[in-house]
């Protein structure tokens, strides 16, 4: 087997392994839950209305049958795998009987959009600034911007988001602080809708960018300051190669390789930040869905979202793994 095929096989194996382990873990954790979905739903339903005790017993019996939690633990696990493979997590308990999967599918485009945009921006911007700062070490402007993004980077997304929300929603109310788009706009490829989505996405995306940019900046800067001492860069400088070419083709391009791997490795964490940000800005993505599910004790929803986020992150990592050979000939050509 040549190197490239080996690489692909290895990545694919990893991909399968991540999904297997993640899905099993999610199942295991959830099925140890003390939350009884039936009681949960009964208490939801009886919270406000007048309730005849005899009627509640009937309701409970009916629901137990509907939610289908029968069988041994292992049978449930196998059945669960069957469901995952069919993309079926059963009905949501708090939104009965809407299937969990259709809730997730409704929310997923929002999260994917928000994450793709903010990860791309923070990755590109962080790497660009970091590379420049690593290459032009004495530039004061770059030093200052570096200090700023580095100071921001360890701050939890929630705090950055909260500050943005207060600044642009309360002190100087210019941006929407809640929701994914303007009300009463029908989704579609209209200028108004896309504009509204961008407008509503600004604060959450800015939060993720501000939090995310620092680590790219730091790692890129140190990568670049190491790479500039690499033989091929020094040699190019001695060869009188123009600095633009050296910066882009010799320094940045080589530094991007580990950064792309880093991107794949960090997606899991980035997703975590998105959960918090979506919750804060009431953004209609899967992160908010997850937290709502937890708050409402929605067993199947929490399980579905966690499983799907593991799968989604694994897919994204796998995609990056597939892109990687395009920019690294050593992997592509073995």
């Amino acid at each position: 087997m040549d190197g490239f095929a080996k690489y692909l096989a290895r990545r694919f194996l990893q991909f399968i392994l991540v999904i297997f382990l993640g899905v099993s873990l999610a199942f295991l954790i959830t099925h140890l839950s003390p939350v009884d979905p039936v009681e949960q739903s009964v208490s939801l339903m009886t919270n406000f209305g007048a309730t005849d005790p005899r009627s509640v017993e009937l309701l409970r019996a009916a629901l137990s049958e509907l939610y289908g939690l029968q069988g041994s633990f292992f049978e449930q696990y196998l059945a669960f795998w069957g469901r995952v493979l069919h993309g079926d997590f059963g009905p949501s308990l708090s939104s009965f009987p809407t299937p969990v999967m259709s809730l997730i599918m409704g929310a997923l485009p929002w999260t994917v959009g928000l994450l793709t945009l903010s990860v791309l921006i923070s990755w590109c911007l962080g790497n660009l600034l970091g590379a420049l700062a690593g290459y032009f070490r004495s530039n004061v402007l770059l030093k200052l911007s570096g200090a700023a993004v580095m100071a921001l980077h360890p701050v939890p997304a929630y705090i950055v988001g909260l500050l943005l929300l207060l600044t642009f929603g309360f002190v100087w109310p210019v941006l929407p602080i809640s929701g994914g788009a303007q009300m009463n706009l029908q989704p579609g490829f209209s200028l108004a809708f896309i504009g509204s989505v961008i407008q509503h996405g600004l604060l959450p995306a800015l939060t993720l960018v501000l939090v995310g940019i620092g680590s790219w900046f730091i790692s890129m800067r140190s990568l670049v300051s190491n790479i500039v001492t690499d033989d091929h860069v020094v040699y190019a400088e001695l060869g009188g190669v123009s600095s633009a070419t050296i910066f882009s083709q010799y320094v940045a391009r080589n530094a991007l390789l580990p950064q792309l791997t880093g991107l794949a490795l960090s997606l899991g964490n980035v997703f975590g930040g998105a959960v918090i940000t979506e919750f804060l800005f009431n953004y209609p993505g899967v992160g908010r869905l997850l937290i709502q599910g937890i708050y409402s004790g929605d067993y199947s929803l929490v399980l579905g979202v966690t499983t799907m986020s593991i799968v989604a992150v694994a897919v994204a990592v796998f995609i990056i793994d597939l892109v990687y050979p395009l920019i690294d000939p050593r992997v592509r050509l073995g």
Binding site: V35, Q40, L59, R60, P97, N184, N282, Y295
Partner: protein, 634 residues
């Protein structure tokens, strides 16, 4: 460089979009014809089947604005005015032994698709739900209804399996009730449980206009034929609110910000501090239940310290009374509600009709109530609590706090038990407890420690009350830890998996003195074995022969009989003597209104309707609002 181009493109797009998008708050809908109400995030936004289990979109206006049933009771109302005949032309008519109920329906009511509403819809509603056990009101219909028939298009007769003088309450809205199904829609559907009923036909004045698939908003539009609805018929002039928007406005901070930005007219609930912020910043563009402090609307719900009577030593009334007397209710009021609490010594919420029917007449009895501590007799009731709380909040609120004791009682409640540590000590000693240092020991020699369960974020004020009570008990030598149960709260309460909890097991009509709403379920026949699930609402599993006698008697009198009030007072006296749970206060809700666009919201001075966004009675507020002439022009 590629990056620069990208950035430039983004900036260009942003610059062209932002001003365009900033014009309308809601695209294409005039703001000054729109009422914006805080709704819950609807996860299954595309679900409009009110009769299948699960909530979702039902609180986003569906049950408030588009569903209808026979009767409504205004939870804030008193006397006859609290009762509204909606689809029914008259009050329920029972036969002598309460085995038959006849309902006359109004004529001239139509579904929003033009189909007339008839008795067949009612019969279909009952029969379909009996046939499908998963549906929302299936169980009570199955238990009660032997047969239902439409004797003519506007008369329905229910034949009951057993005598039931409260059968009509299934169709009487306080928060919600059994809504009537559109037969012509559902009869075409194979499985009414999995039918999403989207878009829903409306039986009330508003109909679905559009909704967000992500569940953040739903918009309801006034029906052109609004006069052909039960609510529309009674109106003298057309409703001014053309559109109602239920929107999920985010976390409490975001709600405050949105109302201050005039993007949210009605808030469901925020923390007292948020309420005070709006009051301070919005000035006269704000309305609330009380125009000044304490602002809050008391729901007919009674937050209490619940005890699990199946767990020792909470089966002992002396212990429960001792714990009650260890509480300094003023700190609880301050801690939970910053003083804005409507305190309750009786086991019914001090709201609506309970004030004239129970609280006012029973003051003398309360003042005279004597408690035997084992060594002496004390009179624990303190009728001056309202003045004391007023004194505590006056430094912050100044002259806006009246000095008239009568007014203070409507704001802060009639009175409560005076903290009496000595009496509590005597009661505990009477129960066989001993004190070692600052630690109470139980009769079996173990230290007396309590786990006090609270739900947490969902009802923050109660979590706060729990914290402060736990601290007070701990300081008196009973180590109390707070247990935050979160969403498992209901389940644990039901399963009896708690020692003590801050929650409520009493909810009332508010607008009607009949206590059967909760009391009927206190029948000892329903008490579950330890470890088994207790059906609502006797979460404390209180068992008393005297109580059973009251319940039995109440079942035999008619809903509107004057005897109902007498039985209610008997129950309240029993509850004081046995202290099965410690009632604290009404569930006070901070629900400020923005008056920039709309005026005429209900208030303590004019409680013509419920005002909680999720309460179906809200519809009477929506049609009564008047545009503010000073509203910004579009």
């Amino acid at each position: 460089m590629m990056f620069k181009n990208l950035l430039a493109a983004i900036l260009l797009v942003a610059a062209s979009i932002l001003p365009a998008a900033a014009q309308d708050f809601i695209a294409g809908i005039p703001r000054n014809q729109t009422l914006i109400i805080q709704g819950p995030p609807a996860q299954n936004a595309e679900w409009f089947n009110l009769w299948a289990p699960g909530g979702g979109a039902s609180n986003n206006g569906l049950q408030q604005l588009a569903a209808d049933t026979f009767w409504f009771i205004n939870p804030d109302g008193t006397g006859d005015a609290a009762w509204t005949n909606a689809l029914a032309a008259d009050r329920p008519q029972y036969n002598a032994d309460f085995t038959e109920m006849t309902v006359k329906l109004k004529d001239g009511i139509f579904w929003s698709d033009g189909v007339p509403f008839t008795a067949d819809d009612v019969v279909y509603t009952v029969e379909t739900q009996i046939a499908h056990p998963g549906m929302g009101w299936s169980a009570p219909f199955t238990v009660n209804v032997d047969r239902v028939e439409a004797t003519d298009p506007h008369t329905v007769v229910f034949h009951l399996k057993a005598p039931n003088s409260r059968f009509h309450t299934l169709f009487t809205v306080r928060w919600n009730a059994a809504w009537i199904m559109p037969k012509h829609v559902f009869e075409k559907v194979a499985d009414p449980l999995s039918f999403n009923n989207n878009p829903p036909v409306s039986l009330s004045a508003y109909v679905l206009h559009s909704y967000d698939k992500a569940g953040n908003w739903a918009i309801w539009k006034l029906r052109d034929d609004w006069q052909r609805t039960s609510i529309g018929m009674g109106l003298k002039e057309p409703p001014q609110v053309k559109y109602v928007v239920y929107r999920n406005a985010g976390n409490p901070d975001a709600r405050v910000i949105e109302q201050l930005n005039h993007n949210l007219d009605v808030i469901n609930d925020i923390a007292p501090e948020g309420m005070f912020t709006i009051a301070r910043k919005a000035g006269d563009q704000m309305a609330a239940w009380f125009p000044g402090f304490p602002f809050a609307h008391p729901d007919p719900t009674l937050p209490s310290v619940l005890f699990n009577h199946q767990v020792k030593p909470f089966d002992n009334a002396d212990v429960r009374w001792a714990l009650a007397l260890m509480i300094d209710i003023r700190s609880v009021a301050m801690g939970a509600y910053r003083g804005a609490a409507n305190l309750a010594a009786l086991s019914t919420p001090p709201t609506g009709i309970a004030v004239p029917d129970y609280y006012e007449p029973m003051q003398d009895w309360l003042k005279g109530f004597e408690l035997n501590t084992g060594t002496r007799t004390i009179k624990p009731y303190d009728p001056t609590i309202a003045e004391q709380v007023a004194a505590l909040v006056r430094p912050q609120w100044g002259d806006s706090i009246p000095s008239d004791p009568a007014k203070l009682k409507t704001m802060f409640g009639f009175g409560w038990w005076k903290q009496d540590v000595q009496a509590a000590t005597e009661l505990l000693q009477k129960a066989g407890f001993t004190k070692q240092g600052n630690q109470w020991m139980m009769p079996d020699g173990k230290p007396f420690a309590i786990r006090l369960m609270v739900e947490g974020d969902n009802v923050p004020t109660l979590a706060r009350a729990g914290s402060i009570i736990a601290q007070q008990w701990s300081m008196q030598g009973i180590k109390t830890t707070i247990d935050v149960a979160g969403p498992t709260n209901g389940q644990r309460l039901g399963a009896g998996d708690f020692e003590a909890a801050i929650y409520w097991s009493v909810e009332t009509w508010g607008g009607h003195p009949d206590l059967s709403f909760f009391l009927d379920s206190y029948d000892s026949a329903y008490i579950a074995e330890p470890g088994k699930t207790q059906p609502p609402r006797n979460l404390q599993r209180w068992k008393s022969e005297k109580l059973d006698a009251i319940i039995q008697a109440n079942r035999k009198v008619a809903f509107d009989s004057p005897q109902v009030v007498d039985l209610g007072r008997d129950y309240l006296k029993l509850a004081v003597e046995e202290m099965p749970f410690i009632p604290l206060m009404a569930y006070n809700k901070f629900a400020p209104f923005d008056t920039t666009y709309w005026t005429g919201y209900p208030s303590a001075a004019d409680p013509y309707s419920a005002s909680g966004p999720f309460w179906s009675n809200l519809r009477y507020m929506v049609v009564a609002l008047k545009p503010n002439p000073a509203a910004p022009k579009p």
